[in-house]
């Protein structure tokens, strides 16, 4: 099913703040099997010059996916999430996300297209603090695989 092209260029209002917790960072680091102390120990983080424990570079997806859900799960867009796989992902970091950050995300739909029977949705989430400091930008492309495709 083709997606609603009228979503291209749409920008959403800033999300509710996501508060980054130390335990959430530890949980995420454990889930990717990374035992680096900068994710767990404030003193180790301080030794690298950080005010508190920082998050792994791909932790930004935890924030950006929540923000992106506004369009991904919008029934009027028409994306079949059970057929969705991740196509591309890119992060640009202004600085590491750290415990205590209260992050808001602004979602923009960059592109919607069809290729080889697949629906392809490209979004951008600009993540910053409540105070307006830019922290990271997450660029995501999701692919809803066409029903006739076996791969």
């Amino acid at each position: 099913m083709a997606l609603d092209q009228s979503y291209i260029g749409r920008t959403y209002p800033p999300s509710e703040p996501y508060e980054v917790g130390r335990e959430k960072i530890r949980e995420f680091a454990a889930a990717i099997g990374d035992d680096h102390p900068v994710y767990r120990d404030p003193q180790a983080a301080a030794a690298l010059g950080y005010d508190d424990v920082i998050a792994p570079p791909t932790f930004a997806i935890v924030v950006s996916a929540r923000v992106g859900a506004q369009v991904v799960f919008d029934e009027e867009l028409g994306l079949d999430y059970s057929r969705v796989v991740h196509g591309e992902q890119r992060f640009v970091h202004n600085r590491p996300i750290r415990a205590g950050d209260r992050l808001v995300g602004v979602l923009t739909v960059d592109n919607i297209r069809s290729a080889a029977g697949n629906d392809i949705l490209s979004t951008r989430v600009e993540i910053g603090t409540e105070a307006g400091e830019p922290v990271a930008t997450a660029y995501s492309t999701l692919v809803a695989r066409g029903p006739d495709r076996e791969s």
């Binding site: 099997g33 680096h36 935890v62 057929r83 196509g87 591309e88």
Partner: protein, 142 residues
Amino acid sequence: MPAIVNYDDVQVGTELSPASFPVRRVDLVRYAGASGDFNVIHWNQRVARAVGLPDVIAHGMLTMAEVGRVITDWTGDPGSVVEYGVRFIKPVVVPDDDAGATIEVTAVVGAKLDDRRVRVDLIASSAGEKVLAMARAVVQLA
């Protein structure tokens, strides 16, 4: 943001230490919980097959995170990753056994950039096939 690797000690072609990462079903469950990505294809074989996948597949973001560890283990400072992007070209298929899948990663410095930054080019494979394309990071060195 001090990094342990000095820009002046790095050349185009400098290889980072390769690594391999196991990905078992339990790792997918743990990642689902930690990340909040509960897409059924990452934990339910019946649904994965019904939508045309060979079996349960790993979260692309878990693969991306593991591959990125080659960089953060190299610099010693995860905050050194300024930019990191990948294209997912093949799923990492995770069988329901104790071994699971394995992701093999190699990485090389592809370019020296301004501001004491380098571009690192990454190659990731599972079951003998490349799973990522255009896997690149911009890394701040000391």
